[in-house]
Amino acid sequence: MRRASIMWGLSALVALAPVACLVTLMVSSQAAGQGLEQGLAKSISIVKVAQVRLSGLRDFIFQGAGEAPAPQEAVVCVHSTDAGRYVITATSHHGGSGSFSLRAGQAGPIDYEVTWYDRAIGGQALALRSGLASPSLSGADRDDPTCKGTGTARLRIALNEGDFMQAAPALYADTLILTVAPP
């Protein structure tokens, strides 16, 4: 977070009234009791929280008949103005406590694993649990919400081999909700 503190004279504050009406009202109220003629200096503060963005996401489509298809990875863009740090939370719509699951109506589940890497290539692998925030990660793009068209992390999905092999033929699906936040 970055804290901005600006000291202004009252006359300057009045000039900014259209864009800072809440602050102006506060100053006017205090000024009424103390006298405008005193020309008090007031502190105007704003807390600018870190901004983050997750983008570059794509769907994961697996097809297979016998053994589980090979895991898939997707490079994604994570932007964080908090020195490139962030936490990631992945939540499975069909998963149970901590688990990620695909379902086809009442059929299934086919469980799957979600692994997060804090780099587009290489990086530290982190096995996620549904609904649980990760530890603080680094490597996000600090400046550009679009990561300058590249990726800063990647997501890996691996289907459970046994579940897939034993699953009845059907289209199994889940919605995976990914949220990034400052640490």
Partner: protein, 181 residues
């Protein structure tokens, strides 16, 4: 008269049929810039019907001057749709007729009977290269049938051609293909 040695060999082929499914809509959503940012991805697994045949062994008839009794070999058929189709193709077949062949141009015809259980069950006589009707009884949960067998193949040597055949060693390669119905 020397006793002929007849060695049918079985070659199994399991068919894993992967169909071309309907196009799957893209639904991923991207996060916006903010104090937190949330995106979603769809994860989908299009599970196609799967089958497997395993546990096959070569069938070796003992040398005999007279037609040997039929021999059976239990096998494991996994099919997650439950039913399956089976097709047997003989390398030396003449049309739909399975045949063993010696080193020359002599043949012994044989029949292939498919049973839908390791013991008992119902059976169907197969013709070379012809796919059967739907067969039930496959293991739907375990690709290895949990170490058991769910079907058996029976080889029946034709008495007429066996008796008429000159002494020698006869063999064939039988290719078995199972597929989802």
């Amino acid at each position: 008269m020397s006793k002929p040695s007849i060695t049918p060999r079985l070659l199994a082929v399991a068919a894993f049929v992967v169909g071309i499914g309907a196009p799957l809509a893209i639904a991923a959503t991207q996060g916006n810039v903010g104090s937190t940012s949330t995106g979603t991805v769809d994860v989908k697994a299009d599970k196609q019907p799967a089958v497997r045949i395993s546990g096959l062994n070569d069938i070796q008839f003992a040398a005999s001057a007279v037609t040997p009794a039929p021999q059976s070999d239990p096998v494991c058929v996994f099919s997650n749709p439950g039913q399956y189709l089976v097709r047997a193709s003989g390398a030396n077949a003449n049309g739909a007729t399975f045949r063993l062949k010696d080193g020359g141009a002599n043949y012994i015809a044989y029949g292939v009977r498919w049973h839908n259980a390791a013991t008992g069950g119902s059976s169907v006589d197969l013709s070379s290269g012809v796919t059967s009707a739907g067969v039930s009884g496959a293991d739907q949960a375990s690709v290895s049938c949990g170490g058991n067998n769910t079907a058996r193949i029976e080889i029946i040597l034709d008495d007429t051609t066996y008796i008429a055949a000159p002494a020698g060693s006869y063999s064939d390669t039988l290719t078995l293909l199972v597929s989802p119905p």
